[in-house]
Symmetry: C2
Subunit: 229 residues, 2 copies
DNA sequence: TGATCGTCAATTGGATACAATTTGCTTGAT
DNA sequence: ATCAAGCAAATTGTATCCAATTGACGATCA
């Protein structure tokens, strides 16, 4: 069997996270355990474990005896997440200016090329790539702890954007990504951090309206196809 | 109802965490689900959920079909945790210099008095209080996300100290805590951060010069030379 | 008519039972 | 004596089952 080395819980966890980040599951949407389990063809136990993790990551909230919901970060919460993200990402930049690995710039530029390939489109792929750039930066520091935290706040920011931003329009984002790379390459930490601050500030700045939801089953059935074993 | 508002999972989670931090459960120790559940009078389901969270917090590691163990951070991991901790705590200081809440200094000084009360003793209480000072600092920023992350790295540092440091002897620590408070009160962020860096550096430094047991690979590679035949 | 209380369906919280996987040990052959 | 193969015990992975809590609808009474 080509069975995956990972557990079912991991699979469901990843799928749900992906669905949330890509805005298929919108903030506030209910996530009943048996509905989800039914759609994915697994038992409630699995879904529960996945939901526990997602709650820990701040992507879902659970109310006692009420069930799980996709998180709806308030503006205050959003502010707090962005504050931590700035702190972490500035440190990432600082560290990379000291110890960028040899193949670091190649990997970064390859990623930017990917981003440019989907430039202009506002789809889920664009959102995912924009986030992954920052995670890649964190990875290059060689610090898994830092990478995990950056990963979490970036994911939460994606969720926040889906709530408050009217458009991801990553045009400027990609440009700024390139600028950050160049500033790091020049060893100019101050400038790189400045751009990053501006970059995040611009992202945080966009905060306006949202849209209306879709049925849970249809969404999950779409994502569940990957689980067909 | 005198029933607790929290769920059983939370209780077990807290208990296990406390036990790990206080070194009742030592690094590397096995945590079989049914044994733990038996001891606490709950089912495996609960223990499992708690273990999932603890793994997410980096206090336990789980191996597929092998079970959960109290984490044994390598020196590299320790380094990574300390690196993130410096980053986060420096930001805490920076934020507090801008917006310390009105009763902040009172709470901080009350805490330091507690620490001084157990000064000299190397028991679990001393370890816990030393960590809680830093969590309290983070709380005063009013940022729950930041507080959670600081909390996590501080806990992991406690675990690391229990592995590598020969003594917590928090004599200097308490002094430095007071110094940090005063620097913040003076609005001197640079000085406060400097003290914090020194404080954490001292803590991390103690971890360096302690016992030796680390990665299996290094041990095996050392002993393996004698086997090369 | 409106508010309050009681019953009921829905859903989660928790426990138990079963299956799959790993590990250690025994046993046998070289 | 060493090593390999296979069997058995222990432990986790997963599913199902029962109980407890919540929210809503509807009946009753002021």
């Amino acid at each position: 069997m080509s069975e995956p080395k990972t557990t079912l819980t991991d699979a469901v966890h990843d799928l749900l996270r992906k669905a949330i980040i890509e805005q298929a599951l919108k903030p506030g949407m209910r996530l009943p355990e048996d509905t989800v389990g039914e759609q994915f063809g697994v038992s409630r136990t699995i879904v529960r474990h996945a939901l526990v993790r997602l709650e820990h990551e701040g992507l879902v909230v659970t109310r006692r005896n009420r069930g799980a919901f996709v998180a709806e970060p308030s503006r205050d919460e959003a502010q707090h997440v962005f504050e931590v993200r700035r702190c972490l990402e500035n440190d990432v930049i600082r560290l990379l200016c000291e110890r960028m690995p040899s193949n670091g710039f190649d990997r970064l530029q390859a990623h930017v090329r990917q981003e440019e390939a989907v430039k202009g489109k506002d789809g889920p792929v664009s959102i995912r790539l924009a986030g992954e750039f920052h995670v890649l930066l964190a990875e290059l520091t060689g610090n898994p702890v830092l990478t995990r935290y950056v990963s979490e706040v970036v994911l939460r920011c994606s969720l926040i954007m889906s709530l408050y931003a009217r458009s991801h329009s990553s045009d400027c984002a990609v440009d700024e990504h390139s600028q950050i790379i160049e500033a790091i390459r020049a060893g100019n930490a101050a400038r790189a951090i400045g751009i990053m601050e501006h970059h995040l500030g611009a992202v945080a700045g966009r905060a306006e309206l949202a849209s209306e939801p879709d049925s849970i089953q249809s969404i999950l059935s779409h994502y569940g196809k990957e689980l067909a074993s």
